[in-house]
């Protein structure tokens, strides 16, 4: 067999610059710790009567959403506002995108406003990296195709740390449609960075090989500290897809019911939930559920991400800031 050493050094991708947040793969553990600590400072600030901080006054944050989103777009917009940045949210419907404008031209148009940060959600992998290259603006990936959703993973880590007091050694069972989930991809990388362990559980064709230990046996969730439930989409059942025969069968085999959750386990879901399909309503509304915490924590984690990018990782001085605005 041929010696495999040879891929020319310059044929491998270069290390990405740290001026964007495109993927969890771009982060080191130190970066994650700093972001979580910053988020916690902001969480404290959010307990005060005046929640708005002057930190990013005069900065412009553009939220550009090529896919529908409730949680992510509202939380980025509110995060920017709480930091006193100017914000503008654009959605693909009702914009020039409807008229067939290319992503490159839309990006160049928006870049002409000289935004400090472009927050982008797009149905295709690599779109945020593309916009970063095309415009030179700082870009935060708010979800691209099935590729990455790094702020979701960060808010999930933050939520787990708040619930368990630690991340190291935590065992997370990720249940459902991993194949089509950007949330799962980012979360797996994030868990590895902080020393937590993951097991993938779901229908065989929806568990890509090589990402993490995987099983189709739902019993495997018994050993986990966190049951992380992914959204199961109707289109996976359509003719020609055949990932599972029916939603009914999916729910029977992999749905998270009260009987499948043991004491002490916590249940998370990135939303939007299909109650009665991948998660039983009784579980979603139980004390074990961290779903609402995830949304609440999304705000401070996204504040931390914006702050970190625009201040090059300077530690946050919340106390000094609070009350000034």
């Amino acid at each position: 067999m041929t010696d495999l050493r040879v891929i020319g050094g310059d044929l491998l991708p270069p290390r990405p610059e740290r001026r964007n947040l495109l993927s969890i793969a771009d982060l080191e553990r130190d970066d994650v710790e700093r972001l979580l600590a910053t988020a916690h400072s902001f969480a404290l600030s959010q307990q005060r009567e005046t929640k708005k901080l002057p930190t990013l006054r005069g900065r412009l944050v553009l939220n550009v959403f090529y896919e529908s989103s409730t949680r992510t777009s509202s939380s980025f917009e509110l995060a920017a506002k709480r930091l006193s940045a100017d914000t503008l949210t654009l959605r693909s419907s009702g914009s020039s995108v409807d008229k067939g404008e290319s992503l490159k031209d839309t990006a160049l148009t928006l870049a002409a406003y000289e935004p400090d940060v472009i927050v982008l959600r797009h149905p295709e992998a690599g779109a945020p990296a593309f916009v970063a290259r095309a415009t030179g603006a700082r870009v935060v990936n708010a979800g691209d195709g099935k590729h990455q959703h790094p702020t979701q993973a960060l808010l999930d880590l933050y939520t787990m740390r708040r619930a368990f007091g630690r991340l190291d050694g935590l065992h997370v069972a990720i249940v459902g449609d991993v194949a089509h989930s950007r949330v799962a991809r980012s979360l797996l990388q994030a868990l590895e960075l902080v020393g937590a362990r993951a097991t993938l559980v779901g229908p065989p064709a929806l568990l890509p090989a090589g990402l993490a230990p995987a099983t189709h046996d739902i019993e495997a969730i018994a050993d986990a500290d966190v049951i992380y439930v992914l959204r199961m989409q109707q289109e996976r059942i359509a003719a020609g897809a055949n990932f599972v025969p029916s939603l009914r069968e999916y729910t029977a085999r992999w749905g998270i019911t009260p009987e499948r959750v043991r004491d002490g386990q916590r249940v998370m879901h990135p939303g939007p939930m299909n109650r009665g399909i991948e998660i039983d309503a009784r579980v979603a509304d139980s004390d074990a559920s961290l779903v609402v915490d995830q949304v609440r924590n999304g705000l401070v984690v996204r504040m931390a991400v914006l702050y970190d990018l625009l201040t090059a990782g300077r530690p946050v001085a919340v106390d000094a800031a609070v009350g000034v605005a």
Partner: protein, 437 residues
């Protein structure tokens, strides 16, 4: 005779003396510092201190003179997408890459599936091509994979070979009939091996990298299943099949199995599959998106082994120009295909020969004698009496690949910004200086 019939382009009668180069023709068994005199486009004399006969003299000391290259797989995008490539620009790129002949595939708009289209393209090539071109015709009407194209009429019009490249002949029954009927033409059938129900929605090799990046997978099985079928069909019919752009180690295993049983199967590999693995796509650069996709280190190693021992006898660029607005988009929106003609030798020399993975002599054969033999073309050679099809290479020259410097009308090279070693200095094609730096 066949070669004369299928290649269309200007032929020359240049007079030239190339002096002092290291002349290397592995098939002829030549490796020596020699002068080469070309009279009227034909190699007239090899020797030391040749009389120049008042010919133009090219001083070539320190350079390498080799049989010019033959590319059996080029997308000239003509007719239909002349904004991406024309016969003129594509053959200029070929000449700059050291090629003396190329074969153009027929997945154009319209598809080349009628004799008058072949004749029209050949007439244009006679007028504007920098190096001779053989035009391949579709194997099935409209490349739809259902009804056979008029293979005999197409061959009579000058079709160089047949292929539905860009798509597979999905139905085994159609492929078998094509192989049987093709006995009347004697031309090669070249196949793009892809099982469409396994590759639908695929953007990258179905492996760890695609899983991590969340890209739809194009599995090795999507290729190798069809390779297995076509190898068995070649054995069954006894009719030759050429497997285009192999990418997976399982495909190489099927190829070897067929060859060991005496099935008439040949194959090609591309420079990008020989130099890269799917690790390279982590940047999601659309210039690393091609069909079939880049695969793993083990696949690359299997291809390289096969190129080394000759199971894969040809290196083909699958030169696939795309307009900037098509490639300047996110990875998943981008079409498949990358450029190859102008960088093939340099890339293979830099990434395979210099690190000691492939002997130079082997590379030269796979770029020239190998593909020529598969498609029944005259072998370019450094020999008295042979038409001058020669490439002069400066192995010491380093150069950086820049889109604006390419002769192709498109810039979608996987090597943009890379520094390569070894550069073509002069190409003589069909007796005519086709390129000179």
């Amino acid at each position: 005779m066949l070669a004369g019939a299928v290649l269309a382009g200007r032929r020359g009668a240049d007079n030239l003396v190339i002096r002092g180069a290291r002349v290397l023709d592995p098939v002829e068994g030549i490796d020596a510092l020699l002068d080469v005199r070309i009279d009227g486009g034909v190699v007239a004399q090899l020797g030391e201190g040749l009389d120049t006969n008042e010919h133009r003299v090219v001083e070539a000391e320190g350079r390498l003179l080799v049989p010019a290259f033959v590319d059996p797989h080029v997308h000239l995008r003509t007719p239909g997408r002349e904004d991406e490539e024309t016969i003129e620009s594509g053959t200029a790129a070929a000449a700059a890459g050291g090629y003396c002949a190329i074969l153009a595939v027929p997945n154009t708009d319209p598809v080349v599936d009628r004799p008058e289209l072949v004749r029209g393209l050949r007439a244009r090539a006679e007028a504007e091509a920098h190096v001779p071109v053989g035009f391949m015709a579709a194997l099935t009407r409209g490349q739809a994979g259902e009804e056979l194209a008029e293979l005999a009429e197409l061959a009579a019009a000058g079709a160089a070979a047949f292929t539905d490249d860009g798509r597979p002949v999905a139905a085994a029954g159609v492929m078998r009939r094509a192989l049987q009927y093709n006995a009347v033409t004697g031309r090669m059938i070249a196949v793009h091996c892809e099982e469409p129900t396994l590759t639908r929605g695929g953007h990258a090799h179905a492996g760890a990298v695609a899983a991590e990046l969340g890209l739809g997978g194009w599995p090795s099985l999507g290729e190798s299943l069809m390779v297995a079928r076509d190898v068995d069909l070649a054995a069954d019919t006894g009719r030759p099949v050429h497997l285009m752009h192999l990418s997976a180690r399982e495909s190489v295993e099927h190829l070897r199995r067929g060859q060991s049983l005496g099935a008439p199967v040949t194959a090609e590999a591309t420079p990008h599959h020989l130099c890269l693995t799917d690790e390279a796509i982590r940047t999601l650069d659309p210039n690393l998106k091609m069909n079939p996709p880049l695969r793993t280190a083990a696949d690359r190693a299997a291809l390289l082994d096969a190129v080394r021992d000759g199971a894969i006898a040809a290196i083909a660029t699958d030169h696939a120009p795309h307009a900037p607005e098509e490639k300047d988009v996110p990875f998943e929106s981008a079409p498949f295909g990358v450029l190859g003609l102008e960088t093939a030798f340099s890339a293979l020399y830099t990434y395979l020969v210099e690190p000691g993975l492939l002997p130079l002599e082997t590379l030269l054969q796979r770029l020239s004698a190998g593909p020529a033999a598969i498609f029944g073309l005259d072998r370019p050679r450094v020999a008295v009496g042979a038409p001058a099809n020669l490439t002069l290479v400066d192995l010491e020259a380093g150069w950086r690949v820049k889109a604006t410097k390419l002769r192709s009308r498109s810039g979608n090279s996987w090597l943009l910004g890379k520094r390569l070693r070894g550069r073509v200095a002069l190409t003589v094609a069909a007796g005519r200086v086709a390129f000179e730096r």
